[in-house]
Amino acid sequence: MRLRIGPAIFDIRSPFGGAIASLRHLYRDYPQGMPDEIYDFTVAALPTTPWRRWFRPSIRLQADFTVEEAVPVALRHALLAFEMGVNMQMALGYRRDIILHAASAARDDRAVVIVGDSGSGKSTLSALLSWSAGWRHCGDELALIGLAGDYSLTPYPRPIGLKNQSIPVMRERVSADRFGPRLEGTMKGTVQHLLPPVDAIQAMDRPARPALIVSPHFTAGASPEIRRMTQSEAYLRLSVASTNQLTLGEPGFDALIRLIRSVPAYDITYGTSEEGLQLVEKLWGDVE
């Protein structure tokens, strides 16, 4: 099958028909098909060994770009294997933009970029922004920042990978048909995908211009706090949060310098999701 997410088309194949079917269903709102297009990356989920197609089936990835040390994934977690494969192509092979390990959302085509380690609350915050606060979802994991003059953000709105306790938080707010299957016992615990609102997927070709950078720190019980980053701090954070910026040479350096000179960056600490949303809205009010 072919699938387009933001600017990249993936050719995805597997002898495990069920895995492909669940992928097709999860990505039902995204462009599929496109037989006559030049695609960016190929990703195949193959049995680890020939007999592993039937006996305790497990998956290894074969793709344009792979890492040597990847371990096999059980067939029941095939959706994660595809996600891993697709992300790996972007992280290792996509060079047209700076790729930040960050969530992003837009309002009136101006964007907030949410950068942070996994576990910092990035995915939850981005899910809440798009499902509760009316923001246009632009991605929960990778943010693409253009190398050209205006450092514009190209949406890459993949389904949001909710983990563990953030799943019930969103189940309360979003109808069940927007959720993928519940994947138990993965390396990250329980994972369930949440589809972004259809509008956000349909608008994925419309760029947005970054206006605010936040780095969330969710700590249960913490009182809300905002701290402005210095420019060099912001540069460092974003550079090491990027999969490719350091390998892009001078254009990567330029684009990141322009971004952090023009867009303010903040650390925000909060103890509940609502507070997190409020802090983002407050900072957004300041930049507007």
Binding site: M84, A91, E233
Partner: protein, 165 residues
């Protein structure tokens, strides 16, 4: 956007009042205190490359550990004879009168996954698990030596993933 030279020259021959405005004592720090931090292209693979795999690839990647690591994290040369205290192997560092050092095998699969190491760090596993502690010592040495090798980019990505300024 200054190319070295142009603006810099201007800055170096400022008019007198500007000099006064900038006048403050310049203190040169001790040499041991780093005055430059360098971001090098290979770090993109070490930190970011793993990140892109949904952090799954970070945690799924493998950090191989050789067999026969001593308690200080050194690889025990193949020619050293091992002795046993019950099941615990040890050897003498410099002949019979040398220091007695405990020796640990590789973890059962020959490597740790990123997840195991991350969990181990978080749960302070090295305090009660002497084998894990020896392996952590070994990994620290590998990491500090800065050399590549299988699994080191994985290790870097786990232990560097939260950058603090």
């Amino acid at each position: 956007m200054t190319d070295q030279n142009s603006d810099q020259e201007g800055m170096m021959q400022p008019k007198e009042p500007e000099v006064n405005a900038r006048r403050r004592v310049l203190k040169l720090g001790a040499v041991a205190v780093p005055a430059i931090a360098t971001l090098t292209p290979s770090m993109a693979m070490a930190t970011g490359g793993g990140v892109g795999g949904a952090n799954i690839s970070i945690l799924a990647c493998q950090v191989p550990i050789p067999d026969r690591i001593d308690e200080d994290g050194e690889v025990v040369p193949a020619h050293k004879n091992l002795h046993y205290d019950g099941h615990q192997a040890y050897y003498y560092e410099n002949g019979k009168r040398g220091k007695k050092k405990y020796v640990f095998n590789a973890p059962y699969q020959g490597h740790y996954s990123g997840q195991e190491i991350k969990d181990g760090y978080l749960n302070n596993r090295y305090i009660h698990d002497a084998q894990f502690k020896a392996h952590v010592e070994y990994l620290q040495k590998m990491r500090n030596s800065g050399t590549g090798g299988a699994g080191i980019s994985c290790l870097m990505s786990i232990t560097n993933s939260s950058y603090k300024t």
